[in-house]
């Protein structure tokens, strides 16, 4: 119950982590099933229909429901602490963001149980995703589930923007913010601009499918290429929503374990902003073969290649952060160090793809599958593992086993390289992506087998991580404030886990790496910026949960509004939009309650301010 009503950013972080981990597991199982099917030519482990559902759900689940929430988990856990805040700007809204995300994700995955998952690829290109060619409810689950989950993401992004703009501790100017906070800030800005595009796209597709509109239907005067533009105007920035937080994590972990401040801080900030900006200008590089014409292809080729410049800046800055430092190879740092070359691999193939005539050959082949997994798995997932090992003690008060962590790293890393390196060659040898099987004797057999074996190894790596969590959870909560001893940012100046109110007294920030600066000055604590006093806290409330349940019910109702249940009562309920109305009533009712009753929260008085962390 406590977990359903919580509005504490630290608990919401844990909720995001659990939910993200759950969906990541589902996406991982789907990946393994895909790789079993492709292990040998003309395999019939799954049918063609199930295969298309597997790739669609694997991609959709991983991107929207697997890694995004884990990113949000880390942001929620860390950002308020890094800027010296007691919570996020809108704790109620933060909880609402989580619950809408969760119910959207659950709705999407219900499709496996309710007559067919979406099967048109995670990009859901029309007309294949239209009701004429995708007759089950699969794509409806996609449009409505993602719509609801996307709402949560958008809410979360806006909340972080407001938090970072308004709640920084005294002295923390923008150019003193830790890099992870910076990338959270920029990521949230991208979310703010990119998610409305997919929202509109999903609404239009829902209209086409459920209400018979013609936005993408040629016969009705629509245009299927329009969907591609809308999708990628969102979809390309989405890639940066995923990778920028990983950049942030790496920029925290590497300095800590090299015992040096980040090299070229201001150029890092500048590069991050530039990447975000360019990220919006290059969407059509996903559409070179759509027939945009030579001029458009030339322009988008060049703008895409330009992203290599800020990315290069970052890579070299990380390398030179370590230069002259004293590097410790903890599990967290292994993942961070492993990230650098792997991500560079993904980056260089990206530049290769940007060359439009060459992309005519690469596009929609396994070369692309290899490229984006190098970026998303080799970049983001390694980054997330690094961040989780790094901040675990701060979140839970227990340090993860280093030995198991190192084992996780090596198994995962070797498995990863085996899986995806060979796929570059498969693509060049003529293997297109999203195919359920392939003919023998095309030189595809051996490399596909290698790729599948690698995938199993990655699976083993992930299981080791889970085992590590289970073992660690049994240990006593005894992590010190600064378990890595070289913590540089504010979160390491308070207990692990932090007390409910984070900072008893808001700290005064005197420079970049505020806590490290105090330590160097011989202090053990931050200098406070205010006297000890009563701390205002927001009240716990179940309303965000209730509102999300309402949206979930409305979504289901809309989806089945045209169905014949063979039962007059059910037909009456659904076909007259009664279910939709009930769902919306629940949501709006909860909103009304929230606005009508003023809740001023409560206070923790100085005598109750127990310095020890209060959560597990």
């Amino acid at each position: 119950m406590d977990w359903i009503t919580t509005v504490d950013h630290k608990k919401i972080a844990v909720l995001y982590l659990i939910a993200g981990g759950f969906f990541f597991g589902i996406g991982g199982i789907e990946a393994i099933l895909i790789r079993i099917q492709l292990m040998k030519p003309m395999n019939d482990f799954v049918s063609a229909q199930v295969f298309n559902e597997l790739i669609t759900m694997h991609g959709t689940t991983m991107i929207f429901l697997g890694v995004m929430p884990i990113i949000f988990a880390l942001m929620n856990a860390v950002v308020p602490l890094q800027i010296g805040a007691r919570d996020v700007a809108f704790p109620f809204v933060n909880a609402l963001g989580f619950w809408t995300f969760l119910f959207g994700g659950l709705l999407l995955n219900l499709s496996w149980l309710m007559g067919g998952a979406p099967d048109a690829g995670w990009t859901s290109y029309t007309p294949l995703s239209g009701s004429e060619y995708s007759g089950t409810h699969g794509v409806d689950f996609y449009t409505i589930g993602l719509q609801i989950a996307g709402l949560g993401t958008l809410i979360g992004g806006i909340n972080f923007l407001a938090t970072i703009i308004t709640m920084r501790a005294p002295g923390m100017s923008y150019m003193r913010m830790p890099m992870f906070t910076w990338t959270t800030f920029i990521t949230s800005a991208i979310i703010l601009f990119a998610f409305p595009a997919i929202t509109v796209g999903l609404v239009l597709l829902t209209f086409d499918r459920i209400l018979g509109a013609n936005f993408f239907d040629v016969a009705g005067g629509g245009n299927p290429v329009l969907w591609q533009h809308i999708f990628w105007i969102f979809g390309h920035p989405e890639v940066y929503i995923l990778i920028l937080p990983a950049f942030g994590i790496i920029s925290e972990v590497i300095p800590t374990f090299a015992r040096k401040r980040l090299f070229g801080y201001s150029s890092m900030v500048f590069a991050t902003i530039l990447i975000a900006f360019l990220g919006f200008m290059v969407w059509a590089h996903h559409m070179f073969t759509t027939g945009l014409g030579t001029v458009a292809n030339a322009l988008f080729s060049i703008s895409t290649m330009l992203i290599a410049v800020p990315t290069g800046i970052k890579i070299f800055n990380w390398l030179f952060t370590m230069w002259g430092g004293q590097i410790r190879f903890t599990a967290a740092n292994l993942f961070a160090v492993g990230f650098v070359p792997t991500f560079v691999m993904g980056g260089v193939t990206g530049v290769m793809l940007a060359s439009a005539p060459a992309d005519f050959q690469f596009h929609d082949t396994y070369f692309v599958v290899a490229h984006f997994h190098y970026v998303i798995v080799g970049g983001l997932v390694l980054g997330l593992f690094s961040g989780l090992h790094y901040w675990w003690p701060k979140m839970f008060g227990r340090v993860l086993s280093e030995t198991l962590g190192k084992w996780t790293f090596w198994t995962f890393m070797i498995g990863f390289q085996l899986t995806f390196f060979v796929q570059h060659f498969l693509g060049l040898m003529g293997m297109q992506r999203r195919i359920v099987t392939y003919l023998p004797n095309q030189d595809f057999d051996l490399l596909n087998l290698v790729s599948s074996v690698g995938a199993f190894l990655m699976g083993v790596g992930v299981i080791m991580f889970l085992v590590n969590i289970v073992i660690t959870t049994r240990k006593p909560v005894d992590a010190p404030n600064d378990p890595w001893e070289d913590g540089r940012t504010l979160e390491w100046s308070i207990p692990s886990p932090p007390p409910e109110y984070n900072f008893k007294q808001t700290p005064l920030v005197r420079g970049i790496d505020a806590y490290w600066k105090e330590k160097m000055a011989g202090h053990t604590e931050m200098t406070p910026a205010e006297p000890v006093g009563s701390i205002h806290m927001p009240s716990a409330t179940p309303l965000p949960f209730v509102m999300s349940v309402g949206i979930f019910i409305a979504g289901l109702g809309l989806m089945f509004s045209k169905d014949d249940f063979g039962n007059a009562f059910m037909n009456g309920l659904f076909n007259n939009y009664i279910v939709v109305i009930i769902g919306l009533l629940i949501t709006f009712g909860a909103m009304a309650l929230r606005s009508l009753y003023d809740d001023h929260g409560w206070h923790i008085e100085p005598e109750d301010q127990d310095e020890k962390g209060v959560r597990t």
């Binding site: 049918s47 063609a48 229909q49 290109y125 007309p127 294949l128 060619y133 040629v218 245009n223 090299a258 015992r259 040096k260 401040r261 090299f263 070229g264 150029s267 073969t289 759509t290 027939g291 030579t294 292809n297 030339a298 080729s301 060049i302 290649m305 990315t311 290069g312 800046i313 890579i315 070299f316 390398l319 030179f320 370590m322 230069w323 002259g324 004293q326 590097i327 410790r328 160090v337 070359p341 560079v344 260089v348 530049v351 290769m352 940007a354 060359s355 005539p357 060459a358 005519f360 050959q361 929609d364 060049l428 040898m429 003529g430 297109q432 195919i435 359920v436 003919l439 004797n441 030189d443």
Partner: protein, 350 residues
């Protein structure tokens, strides 16, 4: 063009090693790395240039990383704080400038190739015009200059430029012959795509659909057969010759009523399904069941493939729209009879 390649010369040795390495794998009729025509060659050259540049980048980054990781690991008893370096303006400018330079080296030939290969040949009298129409899950090829339509096997004369106009009859597909040229999507009317390639050498090249198009996306393959100009002319004539029907008149009647309502042979039948003229001599049945022949190690006798298809089209290509002949009321013997007739229906043009 040449000037830009001058820059690439420095990395030429690397380039040589890599083209060797790359071209070591893949089939000639299928691999991007063994281009068999000028368009694919141009694209492959760009790929080699970009791979060479990227290898250089990788080597530099990996070398620095390895050095740093070995040289600067923390040793036991090392406790003094390392110097906290803020950054270095000069270094940072250098690693902004170098990627920019590399990008320019790649961008210039890229743009040139884009414009060179984007030429519109749809009014070129010397080019063979081909209208490609993709269907779930088969390919239709129409030659408007010759008034000929065929399916699955695209026959072209060697050396001639083939100017394509692409469209789809249903969902999006993508037309791809890796060893001859990169892919191009087939969009619905209103957004037709054009492109062209040519094949200097005789041979059969494998083509694939590269855009997820439904359940049998993986099975939507086709072949491009490049033959001499004379053979091509002969083929056109054979295609235009009157239809050959089964000798057994009863079977012929069954074939007409049940199959020719959608398919066509010669001058008879309809355009709804793949044209069957000369199907016995094609490279495959339904694009995916390879017939025995050159370069098709796993090919089965065409009669076997034909029977497999006609006895259960759904198991070969799930989701395709051909009705099962059994459901049309044909007996097993009749189906075998039609299979035999079709397997023997070959055009003599080579």
């Amino acid at each position: 063009m040449m000037k830009q390649w001058q820059v690439a010369k420095r990395i030429l040795p690397l380039l040589a090693v890599f083209s060797l390495l790359l071209s070591a794998c893949g089939r000639e009729d299928l691999s991007v790395m063994k281009p068999q025509g000028p368009v694919a060659q141009g694209q492959y050259d760009l790929m080699k240039l970009s791979i060479a540049i990227m290898i250089v980048v990788l080597i530099i980054v990996f070398a620095i990383a390895a050095y740093v990781l070995i040289r600067f690991r923390r040793r036991a008893g090392q406790n003094e704080m390392p110097e906290q370096v803020e950054g270095n303006f000069k270094l940072e400018v250098i690693w902004t400038a170098i990627p920019l330079l590399l990008v320019i080296v790649l961008a210039v030939p890229t743009v040139k190739t884009i414009f060179a290969q984007g030429e519109d040949l749809s009014n070129d009298k010397n080019a063979i015009q081909v209208k490609v129409t993709s269907h779930q899950y088969w390919w239709e090829f129409t030659y408007p200059q010759y008034d000929v339509t065929t399916a699955q096997d695209l026959i072209i004369p060697t050396g001639k430029k083939i100017a394509f106009e692409l469209k789809t009859a249903d969902v999006l597909h993508s037309f791809w012959v890796p060893s001859l040229a990169g892919k191009m999507d087939t969009n619905p009317d209103g957004t037709l795509n054009k492109f062209s390639f040519s094949a200097p050498n005789e041979g059969v090249y494998r083509g694939k659909c590269a855009e997820l198009c439904g359940r049998s996306h993986a099975f939507m393959e086709f072949k491009v057969k490049a033959v001499s100009q004379e053979s091509f002319d002969k083929w056109v004539n054979e295609m235009k010759a009157p239809a050959v029907l089964p000798e057994d008149t009863q079977l012929a009647e069954k074939f007409k009523t049940n199959c020719l309502s959608c398919h066509a042979v010669g001058d008879q039948g309809g355009p709804v399904a793949p044209n069957l003229t000369g199907i016995g001599g094609k490279q495959s049945v339904a694009g995916i069941l390879l017939n025995q022949g050159e370069g098709q190690e796993d090919g089965n006798p065409v009669l076997d493939n034909m029977k497999e298809w006609l006895h259960d089209p759904q198991s070969v290509k799930p989701g395709n729209t051909m009705p099962n002949p059994k459901d049309l009321g044909l007996t097993d013997e009749e189906i075998d009879g039609i299979a035999e007739y079709l397997a023997n229906y070959k055009l003599d043009y080579e």
